[in-house]
Symmetry: C2
Subunit: 512 residues, 2 copies
């Protein structure tokens, strides 16, 4: 009793001495719950930790390595990839048209820049474009799609430029979310997924429906799993959207034409709006794989399908062979959208005015590259082939080195920019992680970062089958650096297994 | 009965001939209701109509004018304003660093570009920046704010680059929206307002709380009106945010220091999060007016206020003297944000990866312009003064010509880029509009567009007191073109009044 009174008196006198800390209007309690629910592992805690370690090294602190290698994010230029000269020439000409007089810029770059500027208000990339994007760029994109899809018609009125692909994906999802309780929109996403999807679903308060990719079958999409997942979800929400990532992120698979047909047939039968994330359409490395656009496959299924399925496809300047992430360029093509809904989409986009015009210009170069009769053709194709060739080599190297490590199993990197190996984590390490309140693969990746300076993202940030563990790493570092990275991963993994595995339970292979 | 059967048979045979039109997954019925509720007049129906008319003229169609003059949107370059040379030089150098060797680029531009590139991953603006923005640009912004606010401290950790100011405003509002029913977040916005605010509030499902600016007092903000509006709103929601636009859009007023103090005192007392839209901070024309940042005024009110009020301020590359809308550059400074909430903000921003890096570079030039000892100083300041001087002239011209028209009353354009005149619309025209199911000022603006080619936005798109009518026009066309535009408005207005006013009710002045 006495002690209680003393404590009270102490508190009261402290309150007198110091004004009470004002309560925040915006606190963790009052914060938008949907924002709180958002997670985005690609820039999550592991990346924050990596930045801290980088700072320590910069300030002369001691670490068992001299640099942090960031294999967490598909950021090609940050990993030393050089920009495509022609693309930068066109954007520089658009930015500073006085360069049109410079003899050091090729005529085909000038011609493109002039054409883009003619499509801009006041012939300046400093003017807002229309919310859908610069008209002539939309036309170039439509022409590109027609060529890519061997003549399947594309209409520029269905093309919308965007601020990277993420912005387009977010806008379309925003349209689609409605209903309450069992009528709330459910969005089917692959597991593992690129966490933009789960983040957007959380932010919009939609219902996430997981369908699992088949790891034992090179991460293929099995339509039976779509059926299972859809039927289970119908019990508690209204599945209305089917998201596909092809080539896959983080899983690197390239879908076969047959598989795409099955998926589209399923979407048609169940009246699902299909969102096809095709930002890695240029990134196909496996010789037996080929990119098939969802739109082309839909077309070949006949008019009932081609006129029936609502389909949005997304593309970006950030990936492919250009890797121009910083420009935030992208576009989406949407077919079979209800015309009134399209007007609503334009209205929604118009509130944010327009996508960055220099990003639109960068996109234009990608869809309208130098032609064989133009002066920049040779250099452009040499640069493009060098980037894609190196990526194909690195995809192979990654798979090879990782699969030689006991306790790591890596599917072939058929496309995109990532490997998503399964890693065996010994039960003792799993227990330790659980005691620390973290995912086992987070413990693994944190240890990897702290001991080797390699920054990769735990599989739990992308989703994985219960009891399996993975990490995602990019194949973007230079060949030499990637080799060092993979060897460090190998040595770390062996050490890690040894540390956590007793002699008697020396099982260290990944479960089949 | 017989007829019914025939109808049935016809329908059945039609169904056989033609497959039934498939129901859309995404229809007006299933569309997100919050998206449906969004309105954005600046690019609304009147602008769509203007684009149609432009197309008709291009295709050789006959109209009583030869061009559409778009005074609907603050898009300086589209109206012929030339870019600031130095800004474009820096961005071009960042885009195509080979230009560093060119003798035609000044050293101070090269120095800035080098510094920006050193802050970029792989020294490329094609790399993602951190979600908060390029670090050295954040530092430059902090230094700029300290100088602008005569020494009030600014911390670069409180600075976040954004995709135009709109993106920053949307992100902060998103954090703040929570609660249900009477606990739902209420957002106080000025009426008239820039419709980004009402659009964002609708999209996020928050509650819009109107406070009216005092048209009879040069659109000043009266703190008594804030009290009234707050108290009324408390009955049905939880007011948590106070939005201010200074200098005003669409109203062009510049707030006095005393007025800002009153507002901040009110926000402090009522625990409101203050969002200060200060994108027109460079656009002050009236000789007796001066821009005072909300932050500086808060600082001068003493530490209890400066440490107590959560304040976000927004700026942009799109306005000021640069008018670089297409780059989508902007930033926000947020003070007193709860550290945990700040981490949540960074997480939210990271899902969209980063703002466009070329827009960030453009922002850097604005906050770090050539110094007196640098080679580009003279030209830069000449260009800047020319733009701002011309805007000041046009602000005056607009007010003068409009106020000479019977039935139009225009407050002085003290700042920003817009006039928002009140127009008298005769009762007969009001009736006609109502019969057509449109706002009277929409009828007025549509007629103005169709008869003169001038595109302005009806006041109803910004909000106005019941029974008053306005339009918003920019002062961005060249002096010559603006004069023609204003004279056309004058002649149109006189004709319009004549047409709708009987001799007996010739009252045509704006109600006091």
């Amino acid at each position: 009793m006495e002690r209680y009174s003393t404590a009270e008196a102490t508190a009261a006198s402290a309150a007198l001495r110091k004004p009470k800390l004002r309560e925040k209007t915006l606190s963790m309690e009052s914060l938008n719950a949907q924002v709180k629910a958002v997670e985005y592992a690609v820039r999550g805690p592991i990346v924050i930790k990596a930045a801290e370690i980088e700072k320590i090294i910069q300030q002369g602190g001691k670490k068992p390595f001299t640099e942090v290698i960031k294999a967490n994010i598909g950021d090609a230029h940050a990993m030393g990839q050089q920009p495509i000269t022609f693309l930068r020439q066109v954007v520089a000409l658009c930015t500073f048209p006085e360069l049109m007089d410079s003899p050091s810029f090729p005529e085909d770059a000038k011609w493109r820049a002039r054409r883009i500027l003619q499509g801009c208000g006041g012939q300046s990339i400093g003017a807002y474009s229309s919310s859908e994007g610069v008209q002539c760029i939309r036309e170039d994109i439509a022409a590109y799609i027609e060529q890519r899809d061997q003549g399947v018609p594309a209409n520029c009125n269905n093309i919308f430029l965007s601020t990277g692909a993420s912005d387009g994906i977010m806008s379309i999802l925003k349209l689609l979310v409605s209903g309450e309780g069992r009528n709330r929109t459910g969005v089917m996403i692959p597991i593992p997924q690129y966490p933009l999807y789960s983040a957007a679903i959380a932010e919009l308060g939609a219902v996430q429906i997981n369908y699992y990719l088949d790891e034992d079958n090179c991460w293929a999409l099995d339509v039976n799993e779509l059926h299972r997942s859809y039927q289970a979800a119908k019990q508690h929400c209204q599945p209305r959207v089917l998201c596909i990532i092809n080539p896959g992120n983080p899983t690197g698979q390239v879908q076969s034409k047959k598989c795409i047909e099955d998926v589209l047939h399923f979407a048609y039968e169940e009246n699902l709006f299909v969102m096809a994330d095709e930002v890695y359409q240029e990134n196909v490395y496996a010789p037996d794989c080929q990119f098939h656009s969802f739109k082309k496959v839909l077309y070949e299924m006949g008019p009932e399908y081609f006129n029936g399925v609502e389909l949005a496809s997304f593309h970006s300047t950030s990936k492919g062979y250009t890797g121009e992430c910083g420009f935030r360029g992208g576009f989406m093509e949407i077919i079979n959208l209800d015309p009134e809904v399209k007007a609503q989409l334009v209205k929604l986009l118009s509130v944010r005015l327009c996508p960055p015009v220099s990003g639109q210009a960068a996109m234009d170069v990608i869809v309208n590259p130098p032609r064989p009769d133009e002066p920049s053709y040779t250099q452009f194709h040499k640069e493009k082939a060098a980037v894609l060739g190196a990526l194909a080599d690195k995809a192979k190297l990654t798979e090879q080195i990782l699969n030689a490590v006991p306790g790591i199993k890596c599917n072939p990197v058929q496309g995109a920019m990532y490997a998503f190996p399964q890693i065996f984590i010994p039960p003792k390490a799993v227990e330790e992680a659980k005691a620390l309140g973290m995912q086992p693969d987070m413990l693994y990746c944190l240890r990897l970062l702290e001991e080797t300076g390699i920054c990769v993202v735990p599989g739990s940030g992308f989703g994985q089958r219960e009891g399996t563990y993975h990490f995602r790493m990019t194949i973007l570092p230079s060949h030499e650096k990637l080799k060092v990275l993979l060897e460090k991963v190998r040595d770390f993994h062996v050490r890690f297994l040894k540390e956590y595995t007793d002699l008697q339970d020396s099982q260290c292979s990944v479960p089949a």
